[in-house]
């Protein structure tokens, strides 16, 4: 078995295009072909193919010994993944919605994330916990949250959040090969699903060979001189739309896609803010005690003089995600809210 050196993950416009969901599945399939210890388990990951198409076609290709539909028993099957990882396998276990972590968090943060530490480094837990996040389609307060900040807050697990098809594949391959537990959160709105709202950025060029996108490295997806927008996941797409639009008004936004929360690429943020002097954090997770405050704290801790204007945040205010569309879109970090915040920051 030969491991291909990580190739350049930079996609080119002439490459064939995939949706984020198909790119993610391609990454899983290539690793399953390479390593017989990789297997998939979770609710509806078999013949259904994952309710957000995160495992489509894997059952047909690899069979029921390697793609396991589970009972609705998140504690049991996430724990199963942990034990299999302890014995050297590389499970990919899907928590259907991140909102469901309440029924199984003990396995995640007290076991998956702590066994390596408690064993003094003698036991590794190489597994990937995939989970769907995000709102925007009237699924209510228990099926629309992002919650990545909750996982990132607790020590012992890496946390990655792709926003593009190419990163979805490369981060998946990196996550599977990592010897640590990696929580891989994918937003339903970036998967390119025909039955969700159309999103032109959810389909993009994806290299066909296997490649890794390094965990812990942010990506400057659009350079700009006036303001740094630090964001992730679906909000990257909205931020890019706003940046495209404001470029016509001579406002140049630099957009940073974090891609990883743990570890976080603080250097890229600091370098950018050092150039622009202005910072906006856009986060579809809750406002308080989370990612947006963490990003600003890291900047201010290092050098409070970097900011020429007060930092701003566009997040979900501290309310559950409402059901009614008018209310839901009032709390999500929409392009309108991002645009207003950018203009406030650059004129401050």
């Amino acid at each position: 078995m030969t491991l291909t050196e990580p190739s350049s993950p930079v996609p080119t416009s002439t490459q064939r295009k995939l949706s984020t969901a198909k790119a993610m599945v391609e990454g899983i399939a290539q690793e399953m072909e390479r390593d017989p210890g990789v297997f998939v388990l979770g609710e509806d990951v078999g013949s259904y193919g994952g309710i957000f198409s995160s495992t489509t076609g894997l059952l047909e290709k690899f069979g029921p010994q390697r793609v396991l539909d589970t009972p609705i028993s998140e504690t049991a099957f996430i724990g199963t993944a942990i034990g299999a990882a302890v014995e050297g396998m590389r499970p990919i276990v899907e928590l259907m919605f991140v909102d469901f972590f309440g029924v199984c968090m003990d396995q995640i943060y007290n076991h998956m994330a702590k066994i390596h530490f408690e064993s003094g480094g003698n036991v590794t837990v190489p597994m990937v916990l995939t989970t769907a996040v995000g709102g925007g389609y009237s699924d209510g307060a228990q099926h629309s949250q992002c919650l990545w900040g909750t996982f990132a807050h607790l020590p012992g697990m890496k946390v990655v959040v792709p926003s593009t098809p190419a990163d979805a594949k490369g981060l998946m391959i990196s996550a599977i090969r990592d010897d640590n537990p990696v929580v891989y959160l994918f937003h339903k709105g970036i998967m390119g699903l025909p039955w969700m709202a159309k999103n032109r950025r959810s389909i993009g060029p994806v290299p066909e060979d296997e490649y890794e996108v390094p965990i812990g490295k942010a990506s400057i997806v659009r350079p700009g001189r006036d303001v740094t927008i630090v964001t992730l996941s679906l909000s990257v797409h909205h931020a890019l739309d706003v940046a495209d639009e404001l470029a016509g008004d001579n406002v140049e936004c630099e957009v940073i896609d974090l891609r990883s929360l743990v570890p976080m690429d603080t250097d890229t943020i600091l370098e950018s803010v050092g150039r622009t002097g202005r910072l906006l954090v856009v986060d579809e997770d809750y406002l308080s005690f989370g990612l947006s405050g963490e990003v600003i704290a890291r900047v201010v801790e290092r050098d409070p003089t970097l900011l020429r204007a007060p930092a701003r945040r566009v997040c979900v205010p501290d309310v559950p995600i409402p059901y009614a569309r008018s209310l839901e879109y009032a709390v999500l970090p929409t392009a309108d809210r991002i645009r207003r915040a950018v203009l406030e920051v650059v004129t401050a």
């Binding site: 002439t14 064939r16 295009k17 995939l18 949706s19 198909k22 390119g192 025909p194 159309k198 389909i203």
Partner: protein, 77 residues
């Protein structure tokens, strides 16, 4: 020139229909044989259409269009 038909959805119903769910290419793109170019939604399943040849693709339907199986959806020149 190669014509690309909407895939055969039903062996028994010649008028079976599908919806163009997603184009993975844009009009005028260079494609290679085997590349995924479109997905057609039929009831609960999605059928993929791969490029039957290499060349420049011309799209003859929009996302959301309802097509009878066999209808030409694109050409490769």
């Amino acid at each position: 020139m190669t014509e690309i038909p909407c895939p055969i959805i039903s062996d028994t119903d010649p008028d079976a229909e599908g919806v163009v769910a997603t184009w993975f290419v844009t009009d005028g793109d260079q494609v290679r044989e085997g590349d995924l170019i479109a997905e057609v939604a039929v009831d609960k399943v999605d059928m993929e259409i791969p490029a039957p040849a290499s060349g420049v693709i011309r799209l003859l339907a929009k996302e959301g269009d309802v097509l009878t199986q066999g209808t030409v959806v694109a050409r490769i020149e």
